[in-house]
Symmetry: C3
Subunit: 346 residues, 3 copies
């Protein structure tokens, strides 16, 4: 596999990253690795002594260090901000999934769909009538782009994605494999005998620069639009219910579930496995710790945690008190007994 | 995209919905929208003053109102039950995903499979030996219908669904994209050294009029049958373990997990992200609030909530008490101190 | 469907299972079923009287019993260990999903990919450059095997699986439908204005004899490798974050979420819907009850339960105390009142 991977001498890499190399400028590295890697062709970054100790205890080939640290054991590149230099190296090491130019001969594109000449459409992709695939998009194998969907410029749709119908995805978005956008919202009415389906006729709109994780689901609105704002990133296995309005520049970690019609502001951050009830309002700049549940509106910005979610410091105290419950209960029993004794005496 | 969407004058629509129009009978609307929409071609419904105020504050084109309300700002259709009229409008606005008649030339249908002449089979669908696709079914692109599976009359299988083997789906069902029915139940035995797989040889049976949400999973039984009852609706990312018996006319909201061999009655309702342990019995007519956990049988009908799930009113009180835990703890400490003082005195 | 299923007389089956048959040696059974089945062609096993009573109350055709039990109502095979005999019967009843030898003519295999002559590649599979499909593998319909991926000997990839790139899967593994391995880890940095994507350039490695459940996701590492150890079994809808190191011979039940960079030992067992935070260390031989949350390291082997997860017996006591919270609160109020009265008196 090595044949296709890049390789740099430490000297070359130091120049690219704007750093200096202490020794062994001809040492060859091929990939960024974590500090606890044993890959002799890998280069890691360390920001502190403990980090450096970890790297020294492992076989990693070379290091990116700040000027304040020194390694006598491994060749190193010295830079001002190791983390930024490492980010640059990650970007250089990225290898996009392969896809040929144009429309793969096995792709089935409806004659009334539009595919930009600069877009790439993979094997066995199906694109329905009225869909638009804009400039430089990549739509990978086995994806289904339904009727009247829009895939904006420079957007990547990884293999096995389904967009039902009237799903609009902005520019520079990424939709990971297995994501399903535009499936019916979960709307039923009990008629006294059975659950009657409420027809779901709305749309999904994903803003520019958004990302949808693997196997995540964003339901179409009952009527109107389910919205994921520009720049918002959904992790894997996230569920966005019908008619949700999710703001801009948020991050929602894995397995978080947002109930129908909830309205969530900009720059929110959810840890993993959170749950938000239906019809909840959450304002801008709210951070919610992992595994929290939000049963009612959060109308002040800040950090929240817990089930129910309350301001994070209090939420954490409450969470850590749960294990003390049995002890509290027995202390209450002791108190009750002592009170009885004191009452009897007096 | 508008070319394919319907359009009505308010006068036409009033006649269809059995209502009267106050003014502007020639005003054209194209789609149902929520009351807070700004779509001038949209029509929303309002049931109360606050709803109406919301609509008035937005650009929605027209309204469906009960006789008890009046709009001076927007043209309106007046009906007895706005919600029912709106439901009728939703149904009229529904546009099914497109699929041609018959078997798409790229579909691979085993010669010993049966496909009704009135069924539609989409591009790249694979149908294995012994499978039966009954009348007027729609099986969309990229779905896999395994050996000896049955898809009943008028059932829709959206793109990218997998039915492993001996999965039987009733009439008038809907299976959303990414759903996997019939994967192996999660059965292993620790032999002292490693986890040994227990072969999973059972089936899955989905009753008539059921719905399975996007990316949900229903495992085949170890032996026997995993059952989802007629009329039961599963939301997205729901997991039904092996040998579960799920009754009729239930609704299970997103990310709910039902442990293996649990036996759940008819007309149950689960909020989102619930968890039911293995081998649990839940009787008919039980409602369980979102994020609840069910570690033991629920043998009386009614509403439950919490972790553990208990009768809902109590469960809610307990849930809302959790944030008070640190305060309770300090109050107990104060009491202990005061008791000591009183004891010392006496 | 019956034509393809096996059939045995009780006499034949007794011989195969090393048991004796009490009567009706010519009675024909076709499949293992649970004790509460009403299938007259099914055979169930019972280990105890209550089990046997259940079977007697149902229409199951025949039974596998230990020598200590006796059925007067149904023909039976008597063996030393009914559960083991039943497991053997399950294995005999297993019918693999069908796949032809070699590469299906519709599969698209890059000329620089390697597919063993003994492997089976299903319809519409896409295999990219540098991928290796080893001996006796089965890759079912619609799966995508990305660049430089490795699928080890005797491994089964069920329909609709996606391996992004540089995903390595060991020998004798099973990957269920809808699983996505190698999607980007969820890494972003807030630059003061928006979330900037941290490029994800690492790999995924799944050890020998592992199993990945339907619609589960295992993210590629930022750099380095996300690892699922040999023999570890993931249930459906499980999420393994980037750079996780998951040990050997573990079992993770459905909807469990492991946060990024967590390091988890060998022989762990997670119940369903657990959540582990990022950067957590969990040692070998830890068992965690369903719906637990792990916010900090677990450095001693043993059983844990709860949110937060603590030693299981304590965790269960705390969990069962939550419903008592409102009562505790009112008891504290009563105590406070009584103390005031006593203080007033003294």
């Amino acid at each position: 596999m090595e044949k296709s991977s890049p390789a740099w001498t430490l000297g070359e890499l130091a120049e690219i990253l704007g750093g200096t190399v202490s020794s062994h400028p001809h040492y060859i590295v091929r990939r960024p690795v974590p500090a606890d890697s044993d890959d002799p062709e890998g280069i890691a970054f360390c920001e502190s002594e403990p980090y450096l100790d970890r790297a020294h205890a492992h076989g990693v080939g070379a290091l990116i260090l700040p000027h304040s640290l020194r390694s006598n054991l491994k060749p190193a590149i010295y830079v001002e901000y190791p983390r930024l230099a490492y980010g640059k190296l990650l970007a250089m090491s990225q290898r996009p999934l392969p896809i040929g130019p144009g429309i793969h001969p096995t792709a089935i594109v409806h004659e009334e769909a539009y595919v930009s000449e600069s877009a790439s459409i993979g094997a066995y992709v199906v694109i329905e009538r009225g869909a638009r695939i804009e400039d430089r998009c990549k739509v990978f194998a086995h994806s289904y782009i339904g009727e009247d969907c829009l895939v904006g410029n420079d957007t990547t749709i990884f293999p096995n994605v389904v967009l039902y119908q009237e799903v609009s995805i902005g520019n520079r978005c990424i939709v990971h494999s297995g994501a399903v956008l535009g499936a019916d919202g979960f709307g039923f009415m009990w008629d006294g005998k059975r659950q009657v389906k409420v027809p779901q006729v709305g749309r999904v709109e994903i803003g520019d620069d958004a990302e949808v994780g693997a196997n995540s689901t964003v339901d179409r609105a009952t009527s109107g639009t389910t919205t994921v704002g520009a720049g918002t990133k959904l992790d894997n296995l996230v569920q966005i219910g019908h008619n949700v309005q999710l703001g801009k520049d948020g991050v929602l970690a894995a397995a978080t579930v947002i109930g129908g019609s909830s309205k969530i502001g900009d720059r929110v951050a959810f840890g993993g496995q959170c749950a938000v009830s239906d019809h909840i309002v959450i304002v801008d700049d709210v951070t919610i710790g992992g595994t929290s549940g939000v049963p009612s509106d959060l109308l002040a910005k800040g950090a929240y945690f817990g089930r129910p979610a309350i301001p994070a410091a209090e939420g954490l105290r409450a969470y850590l008190s749960v294990p003390k419950l049995p002890d509290m209960l027995s202390r209450i029993r002791v108190l009750e007994k002592k009170i009885r004794e004191l009452e009897d005496k007096s």
